[in-house]
Symmetry: C2
Subunit: 730 residues, 2 copies
């Protein structure tokens, strides 16, 4: 119960901040009323204050350039080799831990589902963690910081949440939380410490910066997919499709390694649990059973049919409804269901409705099938049927969704009658839509697959001459593809999860058709969620018709600049000014005997300035106290990623008059562009190099503006050409 | 015969230029004695002169920036959509054509192999086209221009060559040429014209620039892999692993589409050819047969064994020997076997030795197996055996290598005796090494797989309790992985080609072990070939210990700059100067009333200047002839990719005194870096943005140097830290 109470608080906090524009207000609110409630004893509310100012990704490496170069130079060839080895070790650990988590979830769900089956009761229907986590991980990999997305606490809550939700019979899947868990494990292991547990293992200190951390989080997400579907290659592709802007071969191999280890660990422990130690050919957590290959799997005249299935309006409808429903839910959660208890009530309501509807459906359906020797059910339900028969509607509703999918794929033709399938599709579809918007650990994969498999099988039955199981597979792919829109990785995931490459081509065709048709009407579900949260998410390319926009029109101007040797008072004032919460500041040098504007000589980040202020690295003090320890890279690393806020740093009136020399700490070679650079070119620089700030200079190298992610994410290709979005101001 | 003669000339030309440092000398030589010999009637010798000056990749888009922007502005939203649709259409065409080529090759090889089987004679043992083509395509995708690598003639020669080589019994495979064919098809289709055939279809003119062309070539290479192995996902990954530095989702999908269409076309036509129209579950050209899944495919205690197989010295030996042999061959070809007829003799010799050795082996082996009802051979050979038996050594030697691999994978335990396998492995290994270096259309995949399968099966037999077919698969993966080192794509290709995902994990493990062990000793085969040709190939990351190098130390300096308005005579002199064959020239603007050095205002390419000179875009002429047609983007596109050499452009003495205004044609916003930028940062810019020239400026925006690919490719991490390679000067 403790974790449930805790989680409700957590969800509450999360929702309160979903609307980023309310940020300042809510921070002050949270600080006052949430601190006493924090069960784990850590003031995490305080800390996420700083998350808004740590968007440093690429630059952190360069910001203390001289320090960094110094370290690199001291490092021998051997040193680099050790680093490389630690990267592999970390990826191995990520794989093992993610595999173990998957194993734990699987065993717990099995146990609880077993319980449920025996007593037909709903034991754990309370909400535990909010959302699937995939949109958040997508944003993180894209380079957007979301507060607390990779914390240990999030992991615990996710794992418990998904176990209870899945076993509790809600229309949810476990893959979203698995991916999120993998990411959290990666973020934790790679840093060699846990700020939540207040333990620092003094390991992997080199990796305490955003670029490295993001790479490991990619590996974690891949390991999560791999464990969820037994699809290591699919996992790698998922990470790449969502995260990578710069394809790096070594990184890809490490990600691949983590995926592989994760599947291996899961299979190893599951094989022991199932009493068949050593049998590693067991696929992942979500296993659709193997499609045994016939001599002729499909004919070419079936392909247009498959593509038609991919294209049908169902898919569009699916997304549209999903969106409407979850928009409704999000707004309801944020605006009205602020109270945790109301959220619990909502989840209970959904669970109750789910149960009621299911029982009603089962009662009124007369689809009783004989319990033959060839049936694939582990737990056939006799409910309202004669002896020696089982209720196929009950099979679809009361198994774990995964098992229902498997039975839809593989049961003999005739196991389901069309009416059952039609009713089931409709009912489950609405339940799934409602559930997805709930504040529950939920994946959308499995419910979509189940809905798709149901109507696919229905199509197959109506076509008479076809194998309904095959059509169930195609329907599942179409439904899922229409909703999540990840063509390449999804194909591989489906192929790996069904254990048969023969169906690769039709699955691809279906997914592509679903994507093309879907994109025509509506964005994918995850993109819609990302848009709802209005984060500066950069897409793959600049909008097509944006060639006429130049850096001059896009940039923010004027820019707050610092001098190379700047007064402490000025710095503190700028950092404390809440109306200009920039994170990067160009450093300029004034030509002494002229009125000319200052020339750019570097770029410094808010977080760096804060560390400098905290350690009082002032010119005057350095002179007076020669023995003072020089600021080292370690000081920046220890502060990462939760830099203190400017308010917590006390600067006396005397100190305000001191000077700070930024030369040694700034990035002396920031990326710059001339003001006439076109938007696609600027965009490409951001995307390819993972930039967060780009200084715009004139031909005399004078600063005239600064482009940030937000400036780019504003532009969007709408129905009527280029549109400018109104992004939330943070 | 005509094509054979032609090909010998082709190969000859190719080899003559392999040594890039001899380039200038050989160009003059070739021009004098090869022109009369050119059978197809086109002076292609002349044209590859210019290939050295067209390394424009990214910049071409921006070089005539104002022209380009003008076009983009004129283009509506609909226009962009049409472009997008044409990209998909082109990818579809690429897929279809590659599939057809694969189909043609397959049918021809089958037919010829059938002939050979019936009459046991070697019909087509002459060399037809040189090398596998994979190293060349790797270089092309990396951004290095190799003369004539994507010409129509290359395609014809490759296709005929591979048919004759494979059917002729040489120890070669057909996948390298397939990949190359795909790339050529892509380059041809996407440009909407063929300069070889002198036809311009006036289509796809927008795509006549290097960035677009390279994207389509990636799609072609993927389609080639896909057709060769029936592995569409593997194809996409191959393209990405070799080519992509900037992962773009839309591009990936188009590549995927091309791969898919290619497999589909191949299967569609093959199914018709084989009299089973509509059966599309047929995998690609190279098909290892389906591994039917047992309940327990492998045990975890077998994994270390598999990894051991991946690691064994064989792999290292393989590469080392391969390298030695092919180095020997390359040098022999270049230095001594200059005469085409000698190359023919060498190939004939190899063919003769292959045949002799095979017969000797078959004669002395007594491995006669009973011809049971369950045997998988289509053409069992009775040679020297009693009736009702077949000679298993002959099976291994005289089938197409692909069919031999299949029989090693799938034949019943006991089909081969260990002595046969051991002898076969050794013999075939040396034959394959020798053949690979020949001037013949050759792939290294299939021979490696065959060798690996043979010793893998041998291991399996020696282990007694194991399934030899499984070990044959693992051995094949280990051998191939040790030689070509493409972990991710290779895993997927193997999984797709064997049609069973269960073996995914062991294959991965084996490939990774093989890669790690192999990398410790030696680079992969393709990398060795690339190194032998000393092209400026950029790896994924800058060498680890290069942080202390800055742009100032790396750049070429001083740089030839042009003024914004420059005298024609100066331009002609600079372009004609063979000692400074730069391709990019910074454009500077002089401050009128000062002695200060000039400031950077743009970058212009050699090819652009040549087009300008050719069209006589001089300031004076523009004034006198107001009616003169304005130079358009089309003029640049028509000249692409074979820009005329400066020598062919006649500039009179009067015209030399004219001025040329470069403002409208230069790239006004070239990428620049300050001189203190570290090497890894410069490297990342090049790799991520596909740059070819980067201007180094001081803090006054004055040009102080230029970094090119060659400057970066020089640095290399050797055994003793950073080493500077001596790259051939072009």
């Amino acid at each position: 119960m403790l974790c449930i109470v805790f989680e409700i608080l957590y969800v509450h906090l999360k929702n309160a901040h979903r609307n980023w524009s309310d940020f300042w207000m809510s921070v002050s609110l949270n600080r006052s009323y949430n601190l006493p409630l924090n069960l784990a004893g850590r003031a995490f509310v305080l800390s996420f204050f700083f998350f808004f100012f740590t968007d440093v990704f690429d630059e952190i490496k360069c910001i203390h350039l001289s320090l960094f170069l110094e370290e690199e130079r001291r490092m021998s060839h051997m040193g680099f080799r050790c680093l490389e080895i630690s990267r592999w070790v970390i990826c191995g650990l990520i794989g093992i831990l993610t595999g173990l988590i998957a194993c734990f979830i699987d065993i717990m769900v099995e146990k609880l589902a077993g319980c449920k089956y025996q007593v037909i009761k709903e034991t754990c229907d309370e909400p535990i963690a909010a959302g699937s986590g995939i949109p958040q991980i997508k944003c993180y990999l894209n380079g957007v910081k979301i507060p607390r997305v990779v914390r240990l606490k999030t992991l615990l809550v996710k794992v418990l949440g998904v176990i209870c939700s899945v076993a509790g019979g809600l229309a949810v899947g476990k893959e979203g939380p698995m991916i999120h868990s993998g990411a959290v494990v990666a973020a934790g292991v790679s840093q060699g410490r846990s700020t939540s547990l207040k333990r620092d293992f003094k390991m992997f200190e080199y990796f305490r910066r955003d670029t490295e951390k993001r790479d490991f989080v990619s590996a974690g997400a891949a390991a999560g997919v791999s464990a969820a579907f037994g699809a290591p290659v699919g996992g790698v592709l998922f990470s790449l499709e969502e995260g990578a802007s710069f394809w790096n071969q070594m990184l890809t191999w490490r990600i691949f390694f983590a995926s592989m280890i994760s599947t291996f660990t899961l299979n190893f422990f599951l094989s022991i649990y199932h009493g068949k130690p050593g049998d590693l050919s067991n696929p992942g957590l979500i296993n659709f059973g193997r499609f045994e290959s016939d001599s002729v799997a499909y004919y070419y005249y079936e392909l247009p049919l498959f593509m038609g299935m991919g294209a049908i309006g169902k898919v569009y409808l699916g997304v549209a409804l999903h969106m409407k429903m979850s928009k409704f839910n999000v707004s309801v959660c944020v605006r009205y269901v602020h109270r945790p208890c109301l959220q619990v009530m909502e989840a209970l309501l959904v669970a109750a409705v789910t149960a009621t509807v299911s029982f009603t459906m089962i009662y009124f359906s007369n689809d009783c099938q004989p319990l033959g020797p060839e049936h694939n059910e582990e737990y056939p339900l006799q409910l309202f049927c004669a002896d020696g028969e089982y209720n196929s509607m009950a099979t679809a509703f009361f198994n774990t969704p995964e098992r229902s999918v498997r039975s839809l794929f593989h049961n003999q033709p005739g196991s389901y009658n069309p009416l059952t399938l039609g009713l089931f599709t409709l009912t489950y579809f609405f339940l799934a839509c409602w559930t997805y918007g709930l504040a529950v650990s939920a994946g959308v994969f499995i419910p979509s697959l189940l809905i798709g498999a149901a109507w696919g099988r229905l199509c197959g039955i109506l076509l008479i001459w076809a194998d309904p199981g095959k059509y169930a597979l195609i329907g599942a792919a179409a439904q899922l593809g229409g909703i999540v829109r990840m063509t390449l990785s999804l194909t591989v995931i489906m192929v790996e999860a069904t254990g048969n490459v023969t169906y690769g081509l039709p699955i691809m065709l279906v997914l592509m058709t679903a994507k093309i048709v879907g994109d025509y009407f509506q964005e994918g579900l995850y993109d819609i969620h990302i848009k709802l949260q209005s984060v500066p998410f950069l897409h793959w390319e600049a909008p097509a018709t944006s060639h006429w926009l130049t850096a001059r029109e896009v940039m923010s101007s004027p820019v707050t600049c610092f001098n190379r040797i700047e007064k402490v008072g000025t710095i503190v004032d700028v950092l404390s000014n809440t109306s200009t919460n920039h994170n990067g500041f160009p450093v300029v040098v004034q030509v002494l005997d002229s009125d000319e504007p200052a020339k750019l000589c570097g770029l410094i980040l808010r977080s760096q300035l804060i560390v400098l202020l905290k350690h009082k690295v002032f010119v005057e003090l350095a002179r007076s106290r020669l023995s003072q320890r020089k600021l080292q890279l370690k000081d920046f690393r220890d502060a990462y990623p939760r830099f203190p806020p400017i308010q917590s740093i006390h600067v006396s009136q005397d100190e305000r008059e001191c000077m700070m020399d930024l030369t040694e700490f700034m990035n002396a070679t920031p990326y710059t562009v001339p003001q006439d650079t076109s938007l696609p070119r600027v965009f490409k620089l951001f995307r390819a190099l993972g930039l967060r700030h780009l200084v715009v200079v004139d031909d005399e190298n004078r600063v005239i503006g600064l482009v940030t992610r937000k400036d780019l994410a504003r532009y969007h290709l709408g129905k009527h050409g280029l549109e400018e979005l109104q992004l939330a101001q943070t």
